[in-house]
């Protein structure tokens, strides 16, 4: 576990996790030199996500507000997470989650492209009982952000 030492919005691609008795929150942010529309398209075209994202093995459904998607990740390949899309603000903010917690993706346009931030908070009254069984998200978050940056910048630079 890491303590909160660095700014989660620093854009350096390093994951930061904070813990309380009843919750855990992991965040990562990374500057991406690409148009926000490219980053948004990569994040929200569900069936294409496993192609560029090495942390997602399957993502089924349509990423639209009110829809439910089914996600399988490398963190636990046997489990399918059924996640409801709670917020969908194009090129700005996407939130999905279940009753355990929510994942928030935000895009903030800046001079070089976009600051991508992803955070997930899980918790509840019973959290202390199962906390030790939930793997760390840090490495997976860092890989997710790095994969997104690589793919988005490749597209941005493409001449084809």
């Amino acid at each position: 576990m890491k303590n909160v030492q660095s700014n989660p919005n620093s854009g350096d691609g390093k994951a930061v996790t904070t813990r309380t008795t009843f919750s855990r929150e992991t965040s990562v942010s990374l500057n991406i030199e690409a148009d926000p529309s490219i980053v948004w398209a990569l994040l929200t075209h569900a069936s294409d996500v496993p192609r560029w994202n090495s942390t997602v093995t399957s993502l089924k459904g349509e990423i639209k507000e009110g829809e439910t998607v089914e996600l399988k990740s490398t963190l636990d390949e046997k489990r399918t997470f059924k996640l409801k899309v709670k917020e969908f603000v194009p090129e700005k903010r996407l939130v999905w989650g279940d009753n355990m917690g929510s994942r928030v993706y935000t895009l903030d346009k800046n001079s070089g492209g976009v600051l991508f931030t992803m955070s997930e908070k899980i918790g509840g009254p019973l959290f202390p009982l199962f906390a030790k069984y939930i793997p760390s998200f840090d490495e997976s978050f860092e890989r997710f952000a790095a994969d997104l940056k690589k793919e988005a910048e490749t597209i941005q630079r493409s001449k084809k």
């Binding site: 148009d35 529309s37 490219i38 990569l42 294409d48 597209i155 941005q156 493409s158 001449k159 084809k160």
Partner: protein, 266 residues
């Protein structure tokens, strides 16, 4: 611009437009209808053409919108569409009888593997999201620039780049997995299988060495092999080639099979 001028320019790329729409819709009837409708629409709106793009780009934009209107409500085809067609064809005696008749009597009834490669791409690319299929064909087969495609699709350059990159990556992945011409472990052999049926005296290997993509498969990377596949499409007019009637008969069969398959799945 006058109607005569429009007609004269339109005729210079009518064939390209028709083949583009055929590759989008997989339907000869739809291709003919949309080309005709495009001309009528262009003629009626010619005073709105301000020359901000070329006339060809403007006309492809009208045609693309008509194709989108037609296809938006229809489901996309699955990636393994050609497996579904094969299974349906094997159960359909009449299909082979008609095909053999065309093979034996039509001047456009040849079977050529490279024609089938182009035909196969038409079916497989219909598994892409609609905008991606449009962008990919416009760029890779019909040579439009990113800016021109952005104008045709009314999208930003960035989104067009996204469509192109994603669709190309997806097609490369599918063909690498499926096509035995470029990957020995490929699961689809339909082009050589059909060659054996329609050209029983011909040796498939002798035909394959004439096709750069198949001949050089071991020495080229996936990107280069995809470019060679696109080169085959660029060089073929699906309405004018020596295999046109046979392939269009095949395409019509496949489209009908897929429509039924998708209806039944609902």
């Amino acid at each position: 611009m006058t109607t005569d001028q429009l007609t004269s320019v339109f005729e210079t790329f009518r064939g390209e437009l028709k083949s583009f729409i055929l590759r989008m819709t997989a339907s000869v009837q739809d291709a003919e209808d949309i080309v005709q409708e495009t001309y009528i629409k262009a003629n009626s709106k010619i005073e709105t053409f301000r020359g901000e793009s070329s006339l060809k780009t403007w006309i492809f934009s009208i045609a693309s919108n008509l194709a989108k209107d037609l296809l938006r409500a229809k489901k996309r085809w699955p990636e393994n569409a050609t497996d579904i067609f094969r299974e349906a064809a094997l159960k359909n005696h009449q299909f082979f009888q008609e095909a053999m008749q065309i093979r034996q009597t039509s001047p456009q009834g040849n079977f050529e593997i490279k024609e089938h490669i182009a035909f196969c791409f038409t079916c497989v690319s219909k598994s892409l999201p609609l905008e991606q299929q449009l962008a990919l064909l416009l760029k890779e087969v019909y040579g439009f620039s990113v800016k021109e495609i952005a104008s045709i699709l009314n999208q930003t350059d960035a989104m067009v780049k996204y469509y192109l990159h994603t669709s190309r990556s997806r097609m490369i992945e599918i063909f690498d997995h499926r096509c035995s011409l470029i990957n020995k472990q490929g699961i689809c052999h339909q082009c050589t299988e059909l060659n054996g049926i329609f050209n029983p005296k011909q040796k498939a290997q002798e035909e394959l060495v004439k096709i750069e993509m198949a001949r050089d498969a071991q020495n080229k990377n996936k990107e280069e092999l995809f470019d060679l596949r696109m080169k085959i499409l660029q060089e073929l007019d699906p309405f004018e080639s020596g295999a046109a009637e046979l392939q269009l008969h095949h395409l019509e069969h496949n489209r009908q099979v897929m429509e039924k398959y998708l209806d039944e799945k609902e």
